[in-house]
Symmetry: C2
Subunit: 363 residues, 2 copies
Amino acid sequence: MGRVSKKSQIDFAAAARRWHESNEDGRKPTMRDVADLAGVSKKTVSRVINESPLVNEATREGIKALIRDIGYRPDPQARGLASKRSFLVGLITDNPTPQYVVQIQHGILDVLRPTGYELVVHPCDRKSDTFLEDAKRFIEVQKLYGVIMTPSVSEDERLAEITRELGCAYIRIASIALDMERRMIVTNDRVGGREAAHHLAKLGHQRIAIIAGRRSFRSAHERRAGFEEGLAEHGISIPPEYVLQGDYTFDSGFALGSEILDLDPPPTAVFASNDEMAAGVLQALHVAGQTPPDALSVVGFDDFETATRVWPRLTTARTPARRIGRLAAERLFEFDKDEAVAAGPNQTTPRLIERDSTRRHKT
Amino acid sequence: MGRVSKKSQIDFAAAARRWHESNEDGRKPTMRDVADLAGVSKKTVSRVINESPLVNEATREGIKALIRDIGYRPDPQARGLASKRSFLVGLITDNPTPQYVVQIQHGILDVLRPTGYELVVHPCDRKSDTFLEDAKRFIEVQKLYGVIMTPSVSEDERLAEITRELGCAYIRIASIALDMERRMIVTNDRVGGREAAHHLAKLGHQRIAIIAGRRSFRSAHERRAGFEEGLAEHGISIPPEYVLQGDYTFDSGFALGSEILDLDPPPTAVFASNDEMAAGVLQALHVAGQTPPDALSVVGFDDFETATRVWPRLTTARTPARRIGRLAAERLFEFDKDEAVAAGPNQTTPRLIERDSTRRHKT
DNA sequence: GCTATTATTGACACCGGTGACAATCTTTTT
DNA sequence: AAAAAGATTGTCACCGGTGTCAATAATAGC
């Protein structure tokens, strides 16, 4: 290493000046231009762009400086055409909560931005019968570098299989590991459920209801299981009539919230498996003329914006969506890396945020 | 027209069969394959793909059928490289309300989906000093087919100018026409403000306050102007001390909501220029132990999800965000069309949704 | 029937990069 | 000092389309 070839004698700064002078018409430089100015072949410039180690140190630095000076940007389309992949990352979602989706997008972009990769969004409907075809076409036609999937599509084995078959990198965001560890970002919803349980138990609640989430979401099971485990640690169990089946929507929370009021004896607290449903419960209480948390303590899950908009503000387990997006994007770029290489974190744990929707049970 | 050339004697169905038989390894067909099977040149296939009228009717139909049969998809990268543009549409946003952004995204995708164009999201920070450069690079490097901008970046003349200079199609979403009509989607916020005013006036309110939106948003001025106009029609004017300056955030609504309570005499109704601030006002009332709408009628603006999550549910002027997204995408594809050609609609008008946060003023 | 005109199609270079492999230059080995 | 090995760079075809312009086919005009 460190050898100084004749080529390195080239004055890169002068080359840049030359470019600026001869380019009064403001043409965008191509790799050809860079190569000519630097007195090397396109291939060498290409190597510099792609961080290939087979380039002389001095040459590399000179070319890099030149590229910076004249503002050269490789054309992603040409790169993609030649290398049979694009510089696009797809985000496949079917989550109806805008706050979640946008946070995830921002998280992903935090990582993508400096890399030059771009994010293409692809909401879908898992129930559509062309959903798998559509996704496949999307990945294949755009030759996506990678895809990130959120619940509940992320839990679809067929979609994961298709992505694998296409040789596309992917990261699945979910509440349990459904795949090789480094292809998952796992949010440990079970712990969140457990914390919610501890919180209510510590406040002295005994008669506790739960509104479960949509069955087709793994998170619904995890949250519920965690919650029940947590209560069990305090010797509390949930009787069957206190288990209500929701579907993660505000409307279901509202409907079930009204039902809770008719229970006899009524519970003193309820764990709604997400904020939307928790907000629905609060609204049902208000409509019935009750005042939470006096009438009923309510715990939510997610800590999206809704949690702080409602009254009383929700005590809830925070899902760090932006961070999840960030991790997903980071892991995506390590997709092919050796498993042995120390991978970054791929786990997040919800943390309980205590607010006003829960209070000590008066015995 | 209607001439039957010898070429049309080719049996396209047989060609498709031939392909399926000889392609047991599942290779994706290219334009070369289609052309060879059809016995025509690549250029002719290219013409069919691009809906060129200079192709014989029979040839066109045959090739189309063949393309369908063997599942050929033109490669957007190759197309882009050759034609110096991509099949990507950029969405440049700096609106902090996730519900708005996601709705817009969905609206745009409603239109894009069947076309094969894809949506690349690009949130930005107008206050960043590299914001313009970044946007320019984004458009230039990706060779975007077009961009759609939402408030408040849509109101930035410099950004519009840059986009124009790059020869990129664009649509600006805003509350007033800042540009040629067919390059705008205008939401007539003034009318929304007016309707809010009429609503409150009809309910008998006289002492009415307003929480204005962030000054750097045109919509803030429009909403306020419309509201004041509307009140004026009922002979009502807003005294200076009833005009509060918010910034469209929940927190500002909360803070100003508290202030309202200290006003002497207190207003009986308030128009918050968006739902977030309206929600803030409601929360401030709750914290103060007041019960809206008895204590204070509150009108919001937007009708995003928050409006129905809070208690009481907000009376608010609906911004049809998804429809706006749809219109924007539709107009984008007509960007170069002759002005004389009857353009589709590019206006939307908010509609007041009456809910529970307003009530008749008891005199 | 022959030429002018229009409809339809094709040839070929090129868009801006990368892959595979060959060539050249240095340094090390013997 | 020649051969072997390693480092560095270059050559050239090709990725899958489109633009330009020429070529061919079919109909119209006289």
